[in-house]
Structure formats: C-alpha cells, structure tokens
C-alpha cells in the first residue's frame, strides 16, 4: 500500500482527494475495503443494510421520478409551466411559492415586500390564499401525480400544505388517497437561505412534528416533511458533513415524536425517510454518498430506535443537481454538468431527480432550460441502458472503500453536532454556518490557486462571447395582480368566519395542541398568508439569527 500512497501525488506535487478531502489512491484493491464493510457486500439491493439500493429490481420496475422545481409569476403562470413540464414528460410536479411573501409569511402589501415589488413572482408564484393555490392547481392531476406542495421554509409549510389539502378537499379528493410531499426544511430555513424573519428553531420542530402527526392521521400517502441535504451542501457542507447533518436533523424529529408518544415511531421514521441530497461534480463521491446514506439510515433506525422493518429502513432519495455549480459564463456547458451530476444520482440509486436549469446562474429557468432538464433525464432513462442493472458500482473496490469512509466520517460529524448540544443548537449558535463558510472559503481559494478548475470561468474562458443566453425575465404583473386579488379576497370572504378561524389558530398556537386542524379551518375560511404570519410573529417571536445575512 505504501508504494501506492506515494503515488497519491503526481510529478507536479498535486494531492489527489475527493471533493470532501478524502485522500485518493491511484487505484484500489480488495484490501482497501475495510473488513467490516466487505461483510456487507453479500447483501443485494432491497436488503439491509440497503447501501446497494432501496429495491431489488431498481429502475426496471420503478424508474426514478422526473421532478423539477418550477414556479414564477402569477399562479396561472406557474400552472402553465407545470403543465408544460408534465407534457414534456415530468412525472411529478413541484409548486414553488414566491419566496418574498412565502418564506416570510407576508402578504404583498407588507412594507418589506412593497419596497421590492419587482422581485415578487421571480422566485415562485404569489399565493396568499386558498383561492390563489386553487388557480395554481387548476386541472392538475392531483389524484394520480406526486406533488410537492411548496412550503420549503419551516414557517411557510403549514400554510402551503393546508392550502393544497384544502383545494384537494374542495375538489372531492379524499385526503387519505392524496400522494405528495411536504418539505419544511431546516437547512434551507436556518442555514442556506436565512430569512429576514422566522419562527425560532424549537417552534419549527413543533410545526414539523404537528405536520407528521396530522399526516399520520389523515394523509397516509403523504410524506410530511423532507429533510433537504441539498440545501446544506449547496451552502457549503461537504459530502460527509451533509450526511452527518441530515441524520442529526432526522434524530431531532424522531426524538420529538418519541417524547410526544402520539404515534408509533416506525410510522414517524417512515414519514421522515424521504430525503433529498445534492449531486455535485465529484461523480464517484456523490454516487457513494447515496449508498452511504441508505446504509446510515438503516444503522440509525436499528441502533437508536430498534426499527428493522425493511419498509421503514430503506431510505427514499430525491436528488437535485448542484445549482451552485452551474456557471454564469458559457452557460450551455451547464447541460453537460447537469448530465454528469444526474448520472451520479442515477448510479447512486435515486428514486427521484431534478436537474438544475442550464441558466441557473442567470435567472429562474426559462421554458427551454426546463425542457433540457427533463430531456437530460429522459436520455439517461431511455438511451443509456443505465436502468437495466441496480447498483452498477457495487463491488467496485474504490466505490465500496469510499462508501465505507463516508459512513465513518459522517458519523463523526453527526457526533460533533451532538457535542454542540444537538442539531437545533448547532444552528442556533451559528456553528453549522461556520462550518459551511469555512468550506466556501476553501473552495474559492482553490479556484484562485488553480487547484480547482471551472471550465469557462477559471480556465478555457471566452472573452469574445462569454454569454449565450440572457436569462429568463419572468412576468411583470405578478405584484399588481396579487395586490388586486388580496383586496378582492378580503372584500368577498365571509369576514366573521375568517376572524373566528384566525382567533382559533392563535388560541391553538398558545396551547400545546396540533396546529394543523386549525390551519385547515383557517385556509378554508380564506385567511391569508400574512394574517397567519402575524399570528406566528405575535405568539412565537423571531429566531435570533446567528449570522448577518
């Protein structure tokens, strides 16, 4: 092994590592796979410890879901784009709400929003009431198609979910048959895109546990919360930190459910066993990361919660290709990057996949960029034969050694988070932000020294024609229409009913009862997003943000 260790450096003195800094040998042999991990190799896909895949027949029986983030403008603009994506062959749909209003639970007439009126609708459709959500969902196949209803940010999730479910009820769709997923992601909310105002992390935990309980009782086919390692990684955490932090987050949810004792822990584990990861450019490390993730989930559930049921212990994974790796310069190169990152996810055994638009660094996706994201996935599914064999990298000494190493390092990071007082504490103190910032800085320094090459940006630049596209412009009437609809909604709703529902919501918030039944009543009574946000702000106050954003 020593002879190979010396070869870790080439003649120019370059050190070869994975993106997370794991030293790499020039080639791998059987004895590079730790003995403990070698014992796991006999297990097939669909068998514990699941690193080889969630299901035995893989993509032969269940192709991964083509699941693209989409949303902008007015609800009808978003509805049209979702229909376009479904026509192109997307096999589920995501309803992104406007971030200015949604993430902050502000109506468009809030002074912070009015000051940025042109931003409204650039990051999702403006949806302030159940009427807006109804427009966005017009003629969508909600009974058959798996949907992400929005609510990526914790304080926004109860609104986005209750809104989607209320529209479904009004259309006569039984909630217990409705397929889909929530998100309420801590990494987005408290790490990656820290908002101007947000409920504190312990309140977020209550919201998410309430959503889990509510789904357990009423929406058995719905994934209540989805932890998005993607947001941790695209903020700066490396592959094993992304893994360790994700499971530290899962433990907070499961421990909270255990403390409550209101639902079986197996069902809670099933409920938060649909997660997402980022796929970035280190092909083998990223594929190995997904194998490591399944293995870790199985270990965690067995050791900490004594759960061994295979239906619960096989982690279901959605991946999104790294937005931060999409370049502003020579953006058509991003079609290649999207393909490579998508392939990493496919080789790692995803259940669901989204490919960032090639214009990601310039704007929200144009229709053409969205179409390309779908086509990349269709080409992989239908032309490359990668769907024929499950876990094609299994048994590669390199990939198995890397999988084992990621597992070990990720549990190390998980323990570091526990030593900080747990996942919530590591966010409250800014410790996790520090870790992400360190990596961001290192990454930029590596670009500066030339250790990390970004084609078209730090090398192979093209000053004559650096940009081939101009960025998608969206629509320019989202704010005005949203303001009109807000006023019309207030004028035409049953005011006493709305006021009652809002008072009831506030009472529930001040008690320890589940907030979701009151949220359903509030949405049904056409209470608006901003009014609900005002309840959050009155009752729960604001998170003491540990960083300056």
């Amino acid at each position: 092994m020593n002879d190979r260790a010396m070869n870790d450096k080439n003649s120019a003195g370059k050190t070869w590592t994975s993106a997370s800094g794991i030293p790499l040998k020039p080639f791998y042999r059987e004895d590079d796979v730790p003995a403990q991990h070698r014992e796991r190799l006999a297990a097939g896909p669909g068998e514990p410890p699941f690193h080889r895949g969630a299901y035995p027949t893989g993509y032969r029986t269940k192709p991964w879901r083509i699941f693209q983030l989409s949303g902008f403008g007015k609800p009808e603009d978003e509805n049209a784009r979702i229909k376009f994506l479904l026509e192109q062959g997307e096999t589920g749909f995501i309803m992104e709400h406007d971030r200015n209003t949604g993430d902050h639970c502000y109506n468009v007439d809030h002074p912070e929003v009015v000051a940025r009126r042109e931003d409204v609708g650039l990051t999702g459709a403006v949806m302030q009431s159940v009427r807006d959500i109804d427009i966005c969902m017009k003629d969508l196949p909600i009974e058959t198609s798996y949907a992400h209803a929005g609510g990526a940010v914790v304080q926004h999730a109860p609104f986005a979910l209750a809104g989607y479910w209320t529209v479904a009820k009004r259309r006569g769709v039984a909630l217990d048959r409705l397929p889909g997923t929530g998100q309420s992601d801590y990494f987005l909310t408290y790490l990656g895109c820290v908002t101007k105002q947000q409920v504190p992390t312990d309140v977020g935990l209550r919201f998410n546990a309430d959503i889990m309980e509510f789904c357990d009782r009423h929406l058995p086919r719905w994934v209540p919360v989805s932890i998005a390692g993607y947001n941790a990684a695209d903020t700066g955490l490396n592959a094993y930190q992304e893994l360790g932090a994700l499971f530290a987050n899962a433990v907070e949810y499961l421990d909270e459910i255990q403390r409550r004792g209101t639902m079986p822990i197996e069902r809670a584990a099933r409920g938060c066993g649909g997660v997402s990861f980022r796929m970035s450019m280190d092909l083998f490390e990223e594929a190995s990361k997904l194998r490591a993730a399944r293995l870790m989930w199985q270990q965690l559930l067995a050791e900490r919660y004594a759960i061994t049921d295979a239906k619960v212990a096989n982690l279901r994974i959605h991946c999104v290709t790294a937005g931060s790796r999409m370049t502003y310069q020579q953006p058509l190169n991003n079609i290649v990057r999207g393909t490579v990152m998508a392939l990493a996810g496919v080789l790692g055994g995803v259940q669901s996949l989204g490919v960032s638009g090639y214009d990601e660094a310039l704007s929200i996706p144009s229709e053409h960029a969205h179409q390309m994201s779908v086509r990349i996935q269709q080409i992989l599914q239908e032309e490359t034969n990668v769907t024929a064999v499950t876990d094609p990298l299994g048994g590669s000494w390199y990939v198995e050694a890397l999988t084992a190493e990621l597992v070990e390092k990720a549990w190390g990071f998980f323990e570091e988070i526990q030593a900080q007082g747990g996942f919530l504490a590591s966010l409250d103190s800014g410790w996790l932000h520090e870790k992400a910032a360190e990596n961001q800085h290192r990454e930029f320094m590596a670009q500066e020294t030339g250790e990390q090459v970004i084609v078209g940006v730090t090398a192979h630049t093209d000053d004559a024609s650096p940009y081939e596209v101009d960025g998608f412009m969206g629509v320019d009437d989202a704010f005005d229409v949203a303001l009109e609809r807000l006023e019309e909604g207030r004028r035409t709703r049953h005011e006493a009913g709305a006021a009652d529902a809002l008072r009831q919501l506030e009472r529930v918030c001040r008690s320890s009862d589940n907030i979701m039944p009151a949220m359903m009543d509030a949405l049904e009574a056409e209470v608006t997003l901003g009014e609900i946000g005002d309840v959050w702000r009155d009752v729960f106050g604001d998170w003491a943000t540990p960083i300056q954003t």
């Binding site: 000051a115 931003d119 502003y328 310069q329 660094a361 310039l362 412009m473 960083i547 954003t549």
Partner: protein, 126 residues
C-alpha cells in the same frame, strides 16, 4: 488596515448569504473594514451609508434589477460621489442597465482578487 470602509447590503429578501459572506471575508482580509447590514430597502442602504460614513457600497442582488436600480439611484441622489459595485445573480440584461448607471458588476464566477482590486481602485487606494 486600509482605513477604508465598505457597506455591504442585499437588495432582495431571498436570504442567500453565501456570495456576500465570501466577498466580505476577502475584503476584510485585504484590510478593508466591512459593515454588513444584510437585507435592506433602498432608503435603509442610503441611511446606513451616511451613518457609517463609508467609502464604497457593495450591493448583493438576488432579484429584479429594478430594485437594485432604485437603490443605486437613491444612493446617487444622496451621495453622488460614493462609488457602488454589485454582485449576485445579475443576468446580462441587468448588468448592462447597472453599468449604464456607473456601477461595476461582478456576476457569478467573478474571482475574489478582481473584486478586491476593484474595491481598492474605487476607494482610491490604487
């Protein structure tokens, strides 16, 4: 320390802090004093630029160029000699509009030495 002070603010409400944080660190490492006020409305940017008596304003743009243009115009009205540069998700059409107002634009992919160099030049150090 260079003795020069830079105000950094975000015009949008999107909360992406990765870019401005990296830039702020590079500027501090280069000897600038950086005052970060985070998400701020145009009038808040202007007020902070006066209160903090800065030599340069850096705007991070995450949304529509019109919002950034309003902030730049407000700064130009109140403090016409104060230079402004900006970064973030600034598509080519937005870049052209900001440059027409005399604002230097550093889109994604810009390298830190170039940004630091611009800060030195704009504050009269070079």
């Amino acid at each position: 320390m260079s003795g020069k002070r830079i105000l950094m603010a975000k015009t949008g409400l999107d909360g992406h802090w990765r870019g401005p944080t990296i830039v702020a660190r590079a500027l501090r490492d280069a000897g600038f004093e950086v005052i970060m006020i985070g998400m701020a409305r145009p009038e808040e940017v202007v007020q902070a630029s006066i209160d903090e008596d800065v030599d340069l304003v850096g705007l991070n743009i995450g949304g529509h160029v019109d919002v950034a243009v309003r902030a730049v115009n407000a700064l130009n009205d109140e403090r016409p000699d104060l230079p402004v540069f900006c970064g973030g998700v600034v598509p080519p059409h937005a870049k052209r509009r900001l440059e027409a107002l005399g604002v230097e634009v550093y889109p994604p992919g810009s390298q830190l030495p170039d940004i630091v160099g611009a800060a030195r030049r704009l504050t009269g150090l070079d």
